[in-house]
């Protein structure tokens, strides 16, 4: 979490607030980048380290809530801490439902804001790690041949080599070889580990199958 590249992004149209937030966040030992509008922020390239966005709800042009929605639709996942001049309950409910970490009403206590930012960054850290693991698994799965994938799905569903051989109309020896390849390529040490991996890839697999069907 104390990664050098960890950056807090601040979007607020008021220069005084941007400066104040910048100083406060830096005083907590975090890197900070400030933007005057949602558009300025969107033009900036996404961070490749755990980060967090401190976002004013009321912005000229694209509002904070709109930006949140737009980023969700675009698949950009960055935890958001909302700050607002006059937070009404429906607004905060909307923001929290859409995945905001915290919703603070100006003026807020500096501890509250820094706490929310740290919380957001550690959340982002966890999400990023998970995403990295899934990405790795996808890569490994991608290296399997179609036959190996078939074998893998039958293995994790609990069938014995003999049964798999019968189902695929081939010899048990061949299946054994395929199975060895699957374990090797997926870097699985045990059947249990392979099962867990396949669970993580479940969605991906469903998508692939659907994709093949529609072709």
């Amino acid at each position: 979490m104390n990664d050098q590249r960890t950056t807090v992004f601040v979007v607020d149209d008021d220069l005084a607030i941007r400066e104040a937030l910048g100083s406060l966040i830096r005083s907590a030992g975090l890197a900070v980048e400030t933007f005057a509008s949602a558009h300025d922020f969107l033009e900036h390239s996404g961070a490749d380290a755990p980060s967090c966005l401190v976002l004013d709800v009321k912005l000229p042009g694209l509002s904070g809530l709109d930006l949140q929605k737009q980023m969700t639709n675009a698949g950009v996942e960055i935890p958001i801490v909302f700050i607002t001049g006059h937070g009404d309950i429906p607004m905060s409910v909307r923001a929290m439902k859409a995945g905001a970490v915290e919703f603070l009403t100006k003026p807020f206590r500096d501890e509250d804001l820094l706490e929310a930012i740290k919380d957001a960054i550690s959340r982002d850290d966890v999400v990023r790690r998970q995403r990295a693991v899934v990405r790795q698994l996808r890569e490994r799965y991608g290296s399997l041949t179609p036959r190996e994938r078939e074998v893998m799905s039958l293995v994790v569903s609990g069938l014995l080599n003999k049964q798999i051989a019968a189902q695929l109309g081939t010899s048990e020896i061949t299946i054994k070889v395929h199975r060895g390849q699957v374990m090797l390529k997926m870097k699985a040490n045990s059947l249990a580990q392979l099962v867990r991996m396949s669970e993580r890839l479940e969605i991906l697999r469903a998508e692939t199958i659907l994709g093949e069907d529609s072709d």
Binding site: A20, S23, S27, G85
Partner: protein
């Protein structure tokens, strides 16, 4: 008004013209018979009676008068006398002419009256929606003003609080960063000034209307407010009474702003009065001229009055005794009156009711 109510009202209106018509017919018959006026002349005289009755009565009474006129004509004036029979051309033409006249005229009058009524009702509706609009815009303006003041002030306030927090953190770090702390402190000073600038701008905004000032007839201004609020007062069973000093000279001011002040006071008075016993709910608006060349307007109500503690605070912004009140009405009213060089004061009338009073310098005085 439904058509049934309308007919009932028409019936009541018809009684008098009908009797008058019948009396006129009798008198004419008597006089003309006595002096042997020829039948054609009598027929025309009777037609006049039918026209006059039709103008004032509805169709049925007008038709009866037409019939009576025809009978009198036939019986007393057309040959053979003292018989009813269709022997002469006039005997055929007269009843048709009478009935047709009665029908056409009553019909025309009816439609004229109906459009008149509709116009009146439309006017009433217009008045009540105007009053509503005035109230809504009053609430909106004040709500918006309060919200924007709150937002404007909240921004520098947030910056100050945040900079303060940052400044303390820079100072209490293991290796205090004095440069950062100094920068944060400088920003605190700057943002404090910008908050105070906002207050100056708001005051200037409230004074800004100077350019739109001219001579204002206070009595007329008040009359307009009374017209706007009459329906609302009636809905709360409150009587609005005005006691104008007729020769009140004009004052110098912004008509719309002064109207806003009177409107605020009257609406407050209606709300205060509506919370008391239904009997004797009254608001009195008085204008008078004070010795020092000033016009005075007083709005007194028979409401629950103001307790001494509230009296001290009612002109402060955001002070309200009403559950849904913003507490801006009197604060804004006072700043408007003061920007006109006048004074707005409140007094609790012992036991019941309150009186709000404002004075304004006269127009002439300003010219000198």
């Amino acid at each position: 008004m439904s058509s049934q109510q309308y007919l009932a009202l028409e019936g009541r209106r018809s009684g008098l013209p009908f009797l008058a018509g019948a009396a006129a017919l009798t008198a004419l018959t008597f006089v003309c018979f006595r002096y042997h006026v020829n039948s054609t002349t009598v027929g025309l005289l009777f037609l006049i009676v039918v026209v006059l009755v039709s103008l004032r009565a509805s169709f049925l009474p007008a038709a009866i008068i037409s019939l009576l006129a025809y009978l009198c004509l036939d019986y007393f004036f057309t040959e053979p006398l003292f018989t009813l029979g269709m022997s002469q051309t006039l005997d055929f033409v007269a009843p048709v002419a009478y009935i047709a006249t009665a029908l056409v005229i009553t019909r025309l009058i009816w439609s004229v009256r109906r459009s008149e009524d509709e116009r009146q009702r439309a006017e009433e509706r217009l008045r009540s929606s105007q009053a509503e609009l005035a109230h809504v815009s009053r609430v909106l303006t004040m709500g918006e003003l309060a919200a924007s003041i709150a937002h404007e002030i909240n921004q520098p306030l947030t910056a100050i609080v945040t900079n303060g927090g940052a400044c303390l953190r820079w100072l209490s770090a293991e290796e205090p960063d004095l440069e950062e702390a100094r920068a944060a402190a400088r920003r605190i000073v700057r943002d404090g000034h910008s908050a105070s600038d906002i207050m100056t701008r708001i005051r200037a905004f409230l004074k800004k209307a100077d350019a739109q000032r001219g001579p204002v007839d206070l009595n007329r201004t008040i009359q307009e407010v009374v017209a706007l609020t009459r329906d609302q007062a009636a809905a709360s069973s409150v009587t609005l009474r005005t006691e104008f000093f007729e020769e009140l000279p004009k004052v110098l001011g912004d008509r719309v702003q002064l109207q806003q002040v009177v409107l605020n006071l009257v609406l407050n008075a209606i709300e205060a009065t509506a919370r008391t016993d239904k009997r004797g709910r009254e608001i009195r608006i008085t204008t008078l001229q004070a010795e020092a060349e000033r016009a005075i307007v007083e709005v007194s109500d028979s409401g629950q009055g103001i307790d001494l503690q509230s009296l001290e605070h009612i002109f402060e912004p955001f002070y309200s005794t009403k559950a849904e009140g913003l507490g801006m009405g009197l604060a804004i009213s006072r700043s408007i009156v003061e920007s006109h060089g006048g004074e707005l004061t409140a007094a609790a009338d012992d036991g019941h009711g309150a009186t709000f009073r404002f004075s304004l310098p006269l127009y002439q005085q300003k010219l000198r």
